[in-house]
Symmetry: C2
Subunit: 426 residues, 2 copies
């Protein structure tokens, strides 16, 4: 356990690794993947796509994690079932926005129908399709618009379809979220890229994020699942917009092996390479999700170091990020540091509160807030106001009682969050 | 354990008990208690009190519960120490608002000084004083205003001082929160009343609520503590405004025995009587706290029945009340029922999601939302809009898998919450 934690703490930041390079292309960055997106009519705005497809020319080893909510969207249930049926193999994704196809009596039937339609258009089996939906819960999903457009969707698949695809999964998202890197495994160039949606309702365990990641590296299914599980824990699950956990979350990684590297089937250096790539892409998508939280004006990051173990580090970091009072304080640029200490203090973890050092940092500088004994140091209000006026604020907590670390990401709580969510369905 | 839970579930609502009558007087409703409040200058608004005192003419058996936050306000630490020193006896309370006296290097010293000042003015021992502070964390508490006014405060003690006292502990509270009942123990009339403050930052485990309750019933200290622990669990700890848990919370109950009832020193019928009185007063204060949440426009209640055990019932009820998306939805009068099911679904408890029935009710009527299988029933938007336009909204959840029940209280999330907390210190 402790070896594993150490391992997880070994994820390197981009600045520390030279052999990974960001590239364009999102879910189409990896060889053999094409994507497509269009407006099929679920969304009344014809300029906004609402249906997308991702396709690999070769069947993919596929790993996924799903929402832990007891109320599960029908597409989550169907995708899970499909991947069990195929032993973790898939060749395509079909996803829609505007309607979550959740809490409806005919939900599973319709999610299965979406797989059948995609499979028929692509000449694969229905169980080789990953299906996902996001949008309003509890409204009947109209199938006609989807039925009428799947052929066109499949025909539209192209190597540069990634932007049309990501546009189709956006709901209250204000920016497209894509990231991709290239790296080498045993000298062979590989690519890994992905797209994400999610804005409100995001919390530990991912709520209403859809994430599709593709790679051309060759890796065994159990190891791909293991890497995903490890990285989800330190990326998406360290994200909090509002503390709600949705019914439809899914992170899905597909690996088609077209890069031609020797199959990764042991936890060796090659495994560490692809896991690092997955970390970089998922961490970047996580930060984009945090920054684009509903109504958000600021990205808040909390780094915790010196923790007795990684779980404690993550718990403390999330507690700060999740606190509505901290979120409002940062929105209001109000240096009410007591709220930060307060949020650390109610984190449900076992540590000594009296040894911590707390700093708040932004592009404008760094302020020492606390140096032990949970006491707040004197500070310049002017300097604090300047610091808090930046778009990205980081709270650094050093618990000074161990070697473990963790980071969580979130955003401020604003009038617009309330506005968006007071009238979401219209 | 299960017998105890059953017991806790036996708390009767006011409508079901004839032998309890609401009375005026708050903390002065019980015999032998006087109170006082004034503006000593901590608050620059001379019309707002900021310092108060409660006094009993006879030493009181005293029980208390405190914040579970690791960062504890100095007054919490000092009060805890005092009550240990006296074996749970106290005769007075001194409390201030505007400054939490927390996270300051000289905090404990100053909290002790407040006890000494009160004790000197009242002719009692410093350790017989309960001290509490609420307000901004991490700002040095100026002692001069308090030193200069304690004599006047003690002189001002009177049987009708309760409103001046409750005014002094209010921060962002918009209404005074008081409740009191009279009831009989073995034919002897007794009284129990209290006052509370708290508005933002209230959550399970009470954050930034101060609650002082007084009674003239005679009861042993261990049983008073037991009754308080039991009732806190089903009242204050079922309250959530924003999910933050403060550093300075305290609920303190003082019993001076002046009613003349035979001492309650066993868990008999007399014990059940006073516990019921404590429940009614604390439940009413809890509802007042919920309704007066920062920026709140609506009281949201969630009742859970048919739960396998009380912990599950409370966990589910709190999950609904705490969800920012449910809170925004109710603020926006938007019948987005999926969010309610979603919040039930991510409650961290072990139950079968497929058996539940969910209804939403207000003075305007009742709508059946779900009848098993986590599916949302068709409903009239018009009827829903009418229902949601009322000030008090109740979500009823019947899990249909046991006999236990629980209730949680909260409020909607509004623009004003963000406004108040974006600029709290000014």
């Amino acid at each position: 356990m402790s070896a594993k934690m150490q391992n997880e703490n070994f994820m390197k930041e981009m600045e520390e690794v030279n052999d990974y390079t960001y590239i364009e292309g999102g879910v189409c960055a990896a060889e053999g993947f094409t994507a497509s997106g269009l407006n099929c009519g679920l969304n009344s705005n014809p300029d906004k796509n609402d249906l997308c497809m991702i396709y690999s020319e070769r069947p993919c080893v596929t790993a996924a994690v799903y929402t832990t909510n007891k109320v599960k969207g029908a597409p989550v249930i169907v995708t899970k079932r499909n991947l069990i049926k195929t032993g973790g193999m898939a060749q395509a994704v079909i996803a829609n926005s505007k309607n979550a196809n959740t809490c409806n009596a005919d939900g599973e039937e319709k999610a299965e129908r979406m797989c059948e339609l995609a499979a028929a258009a692509l000449g694969i089996k229905p169980e080789e399709v990953v299906v996902a939906s996001t949008g309003v819960i509890g409204q009947i999903l109209p199938m006609e618009p989807i039925e009428a457009h799947v052929e066109e969707l499949a025909k539209g698949l192209s190597r540069d379809g990634n932007l049309r695809a990501v546009n189709a999964i956006m709901t209250t998202d204000t920016v497209k979220k894509e990231a991709a890197v290239t790296f080498k495994i045993g000298g062979v160039p590989c690519r890994l890229g992905g797209m994400a949606k999610g804005s409100g309702m995001i919390h530990p365990n991912m709520a209403t994020t859809l994430n599709f990641i593709t790679t051309d590296a060759a890796i065994s299914q159990p190891l791909l699942q293991k890497a995903l599980d490890e990285i989800v824990k330190v990326t998406y699950n360290c994200l909090s917009i509002d503390g709600d956990t949705s019914t439809n979350d899914m992170v899905c990684v597909m690996a088609n092996g077209l890069a031609g590297n020797p199959l990764i089937d042991a936890e060796d250096e090659a495994y560490a390479c692809i896991r690092q790539a997955l970390y970089l892409v998922m961490r970047d998508l996580t930060k984009m999700l945090a920054k684009d939280g509903e109504g958000a004006t600021r990205l808040i990051t909390c780094t915790v170091t010196g923790a007795p173990d990684q779980d404690t580090a993550i718990t403390v970091a999330k507690s700060v990020i999740r606190s509505p009072l901290v979120k409002c304080m940062i929105f209001g640029r109000d240096a009410n540091w007591g709220r930060v200490l307060c949020a650390i203090g109610y984190a449900e973890a076992d540590f000594d509160i009296n040894r911590m050092e707390v700093d708040v940092e932004s592009a404008a500088g760094k302020i020492a807030v606390c140096r032990g004994n949970a006491l707040i140091l004197p500070f310049s209000e002017e300097e604090a106001a300047k610091l808090l006026s930046e778009d990205e604020i980081t709270v650094h907590v050093n618990l000074n009682q161990g070697e473990a670390k963790g980071t969580a990401w979130g955003c401020d709580l604003t009038y617009d969050y309330v506005k968006i969510n007071g009238d979401y369905r219209s």
